[in-house]
Amino acid sequence: MSLLVIKPGLYSTVQDRGRPGHRAAGLSGGGAMDEYALRVANLLVGNDESAAGLELTLAGPTFKAEADLLIAVTGADMAPHADGRELAMWRPVYVPAGATLTFGAARAGCRAYVAVAGGIGTAPALGSRSTDARAGIGGIAGRPLRAGDAVPCGEAAGAVAPSAWATAWLAALAKRSAAEGDGRPAIAGAAWYAPPRAYGGGGAAGIELRAMPGRERGQFTQAARDSFYGGRYRVAAASDRMGVRLEGPPLHRIAGEELLSHGIVPGVVQVPGSGQPIVLGADCQTTGGYPKIAYIASVDLPLLAQAKPGDYIRFRPIDLEEAQRLDHARAMSLRTLVAAIRCKRP
């Protein structure tokens, strides 16, 4: 059972919740940039939240389904279609064997996620299936998808068997698909959906990210600190999974003191000599020595993941306690969502 890659898209990778525990060896934590969207996609096809799915970036791929599949698409809207018909997002959808799945350019957001019942079954490396392209491990041969790749799905391919819940939904939607299709099976999605997050660039006002004060904020001029929270920053084209590069009012330092390299994590906003900030992403290096003006609240990292080149970002102050409270509240709301989805019976 697999998804055959017809066109790979701009940058499509296998991702799960990452590979923490190896940062002392220089390996990034990795995992989905928008962890929320991947977790919800997994829940919608009856998977464990930690199963591997596909992360699609800006311009989506084309696949051929080689078996009947129950899938869910979340995150950025890349106009997903199956055999020419629009495929509803944020819900379980039945895709018949032989169907062609296409994803276009992102209309809102930057990264879409595809989960398949049972999960993606590529071989785990150091405890994770996430693709780490720098280390050359995880996913398919440690690199983004290429045309001709067969992305293994489900039990026979090394992932786990779809849950009983997923099997029941697959059967029910397949039955509806056969009834509705005139001669060929239709694409059938469940009538319910998980609440989609509001992605979409935020227009000229910008995407608002809440940020805690960084360790070296005192080394920046007052003007720099004012610009950081008052100005808006444009997402540069050179942004990737290592970091979101921003262009805007330059952030100058008073003191030019060099820092010794130290551990860094996703969400850190570092400012190199150019004065243009970089917000670190899931594949960021494990150590760095640039001064840190702020840290993005973890609860807002999915919004960062969905900021695409050309979008504007604004920062709003938040304190550590509030950031951890919101992070915890997000975890609790995901638990509620798990229960709500499990209650849905076909």
């Binding site: 923490p20 940062r23 002392a24 050359g136 805690m212 010794l260 150590t287 973890s298 950031a323």
Partner: protein
């Protein structure tokens, strides 16, 4: 031993050793990182030792909190663990010898480096191989060791514009540090030689050969010895992938 703890966002914190311990700090960082890891606490997600700091990535929702904020609880626990590690405990570093083929195709910058240091190439090689090094941190790319202990007269500036691709195994110098590129990546260090050893291999249980705190020495080898060791390494990888470790050959940037 005095530690200062500061938050690094809402899921990590940095423990910094009070200054004044000098060049042995990174030994203590490596030992402290091992100590924290070995404590086996489920909420400690990752630990990164570097120079004078240990960064701890934690899971706020898993920290036992007794009604207090997650950060305060994590800070208190980590302070307690670090205090229990004791002042003199430095763990047991590994001692590793790395064979290096200096100069020629293996070290394209050796001649320029020797010239800048006012030595012959042979003198430069001898000085580099005679010194003992310590891994201050592993970072930049997976398995890349930043090593301290370079004789100051061997110090070199970085290249103005980095090479688009540095061969895996390349031994380089930047400032007063020496290091080894584990993978083929872009890089700006002055390249003086190359080792046939694989410093990073994801099919190993410990993928990085070196950890912060390890002691390292280099031993010069000639091109023939280089090729022989390289073949032995390739044979070892082939036999390990035959045991089901997957596509090690496909992963390596330096396939023979």
């Amino acid at each position: 031993m005095g530690w200062t703890l500061t938050p690094l966002g809402d899921r990590a914190l940095v423990a910094e050793l009070q200054p004044g311990h000098g060049s042995e700090d990174w030994m203590r960082m490596a030992a402290a990182a091992d100590w924290l890891r070995q404590a086996g606490l489920a909420w400690i997600v990752d630990v990164i030792p570097a120079y004078s700091t240990v960064t701890v990535v934690y899971e706020p929702s898993a920290v036992g909190r007794d009604g207090q904020p997650a950060y305060s609880a994590a800070e208190r626990e980590i302070e307690r663990l670090l205090a229990a590690a004791g002042a003199d405990w430095t763990g047991e570093p590994k001692v590793i010898t790395i064979p290096v083929c200096y100069g020629g195709m293996c070290g394209p910058d050796l001649a320029d480096c020797a010239l800048r240091s006012g030595m012959s190439e042979a003198e430069f090689i001898l000085a580099h191989a005679e010194a003992f090094y310590r891994v201050a941190l592993v970072g930049f790319v997976p398995g890349f060791p930043y090593m301290a202990g370079l004789p100051p007269r061997l110090a070199q500036p970085r290249h103005g514009s980095p090479r688009p691709r540095v061969a895996a195994g390349s031994v380089g110098i930047a400032g007063e540090q020496t290091g080894v590129y584990p993978l083929a990546v872009p890089g700006g260090w002055q390249l003086i030689g190359r080792t046939p050893l694989r410093l990073f291999d994801a099919s190993r249980r410990e993928p990085a050969m070196l950890r912060a705190g390890d002691r390292v020495s280099f031993v010069p080898i000639d091109e023939e010895q280089y090729r022989r060791i390289e073949q032995e390494m390739a044979a070892a990888v082939c036999s390990s992938s035959a045991e089901g470790n997957g596509n090690a050959a496909e992963r390596g940037g330096d396939r023979v």
